[in-house]
């Protein structure tokens, strides 16, 4: 079996609030092979979003190592980590997090501004991914002119436009009605099967978890055995 693209080893995360130390993750070890679609489930406060944030490189562990595609991101400095994120991680948030003053096209183009692609190449990439998510006809629309499901599709386009190593999704269907949620899940499944994207998704929604290859449960900072 090929080496896992995400290797989380003995990771502990403790939040400090004033003098109080709150352990959120305790000695977590998990590997995610390339091309996997992993769902992390668990009750609120179980630490699943924290684990996702650590894998995405927007938070740092107190101990342990996180190696993604051969890079130990827990040792990277702030600016190197930001650069790493721009190349290797695609984010899908629960509330889409589109920039309201930018059009769908401009929102999707945003991560490409950190690359050295030419203007023409950027346009081709943006148009291609908007086509993949089925929103070629909404390019010039602002987020407030789109439905929730459409906004999340734009966010997914933004997440895949740089062809990242992994896609992290935090409750991607949490703010959507059933029909839109189904569309989004279908799209994510397609990204995994058709485009071979490695996806780590945090969800409460059992229907969302059904689409994943693998579901891991967290409880009180511990990863439960399957």
């Amino acid at each position: 079996m090929a080496e896992a693209i995400v290797q989380v080893h003995n990771v502990t995360k403790i939040y400090k609030r004033d003098k109080l130390e709150i352990p959120v993750l305790q000695n977590i070890t998990i590997d995610v092979p390339e091309g996997e679609f992993l769902a992390l489930m668990g009750p609120s406060g179980s630490g699943k979003t924290t684990l996702l944030n650590l894998i995405a490189g927007i938070d740092r562990p107190n101990s342990g190592s996180i190696v993604i595609a051969g890079t130990d991101i827990s040792t990277l400095r702030e600016s190197a980590l930001a650069k790493w994120r721009s190349r290797h991680v695609g984010f899908v948030f629960q509330f889409y997090n589109l920039l309201p003053v930018l059009t769908a096209y401009e929102n999707v183009e945003l991560p490409l501004l950190l690359t050295h692609l030419s203007k023409k190449e950027k346009r081709e990439h943006v148009e291609m991914v908007l086509n993949v998510v089925g929103l070629s006809d909404r390019m010039k629309h602002y987020p407030k002119q789109l439905s929730g499901g459409q906004e999340q599709r734009v966010a997914i386009a933004r997440a895949i436009v740089t062809d990242p190593t992994i896609i992290v999704a935090d409750e991607p269907t949490g703010d959507l009605d059933k029909k839109s949620a189904d569309e989004i899940l279908l799209l994510m499944e397609r990204l995994n099967t058709e485009f071979k994207k490695t996806i780590v998704m945090v969800t409460h929604d059992p229907r969302a978890a059904e689409k994943a290859h693998k579901v891991r449960h967290l409880e009180k900072g511990d990863l439960l055995e399957n």
Partner: protein, 389 residues
């Protein structure tokens, strides 16, 4: 700079009400700042343009104004024969010995009186002062009790029109003409025959002597010759422009200092306003900042984005303030010049230097006002920023 400018501009537009208020505050401060500089420049220009490049004025040493200067008849005739002095069409040296005094006239529309300079000039004076032109009536006659007044004096003082009389010294003087002296200091004066004026004031000496040099470059030679002459060593030659510029300094510095103190106090308010607006912008866009950081934008890009917004805000405010201030060019008024305690008419004058320093000043306010909020934005923790809603 990675974050597109359109992002900044559209965000400004989104919050256009708060932004307009902040811009208005900045515009107001910039208006005051520009107005002060324009006023100081106006005073300077008025007095400096009173002088000509190739004219030299001779006054008593250390006399700051002609009012406190004295120069005897003998000195006047000695200096007029210096070889550096140009000759007029009639072959006579181009020199005018002036006597300057003041009269008290009542200002129109007020109950107050103001000091108006009365200049006694000789026949060669007009030829040496091309900025002075008759606009109404005629020139006074030599040896008579006639005067001409400037357009400013005619319009701003009671009983100063052609055909009316002025009380100067012990006698009544008939106004026979009105002259325009452009934006020079002469445009606040009353002119009469020097000899008649000396009789009226019972003064045996002139106030100053002004000569035209053959060439601008002759000044050093002229000065050395004058200083080498034992009989003339209580006198000091100055280029006419320098002399009037020195007269303007006290007034210009006073205006600048007073104005800048007011502006600095105002600008603190405008900067705090800009800071509050930018802090509010950061607070409103916390999730956006978290998202941009998560996508891989560096702290410095966030810092730059918010600084650019603040700078843009201040630049718009600065430009508006400057445009409004530019209209002051059309305003002119008169006040007392502290160097001579006489009435001086002047206006606001806008120069490219003032435009540049005003815009720099507004950018400075934007930079100071925007800096702390921008730093705060760039230092936000990504996780907490993403959780804010």
């Amino acid at each position: 700079m990675k974050i597109p400018l359109s992002y900044n501009l559209r965000n400004l537009w989104t919050r256009r009400l708060t932004m307009s208020l902040t811009i208005g505050g900045i515009a107001l401060v910039v208006f005051v700042f520009a107005a002060v500089l324009m006023l100081a420049e106006g005073v300077k220009q008025t007095l400096v343009s009173t002088g000509s490049d190739d004219n030299v004025i001779i006054v008593r040493k250390s006399a700051q104004s002609e009012l406190v200067s004295a120069i005897g008849r003998e000195s006047v005739s000695n200096i007029s024969t210096f070889p550096e002095v140009a000759a007029g069409t009639d072959g006579k040296p181009m020199a005018t010995a002036d006597v300057v005094s003041i009269v008290n006239l009542s200002k129109k529309g007020t109950k107050g009186m103001a000091n108006v300079p009365v200049r006694g000039v000789s026949s060669g004076s007009i030829a040496m002062r091309p900025q002075v032109k008759m606009v109404e009536g005629r020139m006074f006659q030599q040896g008579s009790s006639e005067v001409i007044v400037s357009t400013t004096v005619a319009s701003q003082f009671e009983g100063a029109g052609v055909g009316q009389t002025l009380q100067i010294g012990t006698g009544h003087w008939m106004i026979v003409g009105i002259f325009d002296a452009g934006k020079s200091g002469f445009s606040s004066e009353v002119w009469a025959d020097a000899e008649q004026l000396m009789l009226a004031f019972n003064r045996p000496v002139y106030s100053s002597l002004t000569v035209k040099l053959k060439s601008i470059n002759d000044f050093e030679g002229f000065k050395n010759r004058l200083q080498a002459d034992q009989r003339l060593n209580d006198l000091e030659p100055k280029r006419e422009k320098t002399f009037y510029e020195e007269q303007s300094q006290g007034m210009a510095i006073f205006i600048r200092v007073l104005g800048l103190i007011i502006t600095i106090i105002f600008s603190a308010g405008a900067m705090i306003g800009a800071m509050i607006t930018m802090y509010a912008a950061v607070a409103n866009r916390t999730v956006e900042i978290g998202t941009l950081r998560a996508l891989g934008f560096q702290r410095r890009s966030i810092l730059a984005a918010f600084l650019i917004e603040a700078l843009f805000l201040s630049l718009i405010g600065g430009s508006i303030g400057l445009v409004i201030a530019a209209f002051l060019e059309f305003v002119s008024f008169s006040t007392t010049n502290f160097s001579s305690f006489t009435e001086l008419a002047f206006g606001f004058h806008l120069t490219p230097e003032i435009v540049v320093s005003t815009l720099l000043f507004s950018l400075f306010m934007g930079l100071i006002g925007g800096f702390l909020p921008a730093v705060r934005a760039s230092r936000l923790n990504i996780i907490s920023a993403l959780r804010a809603s």
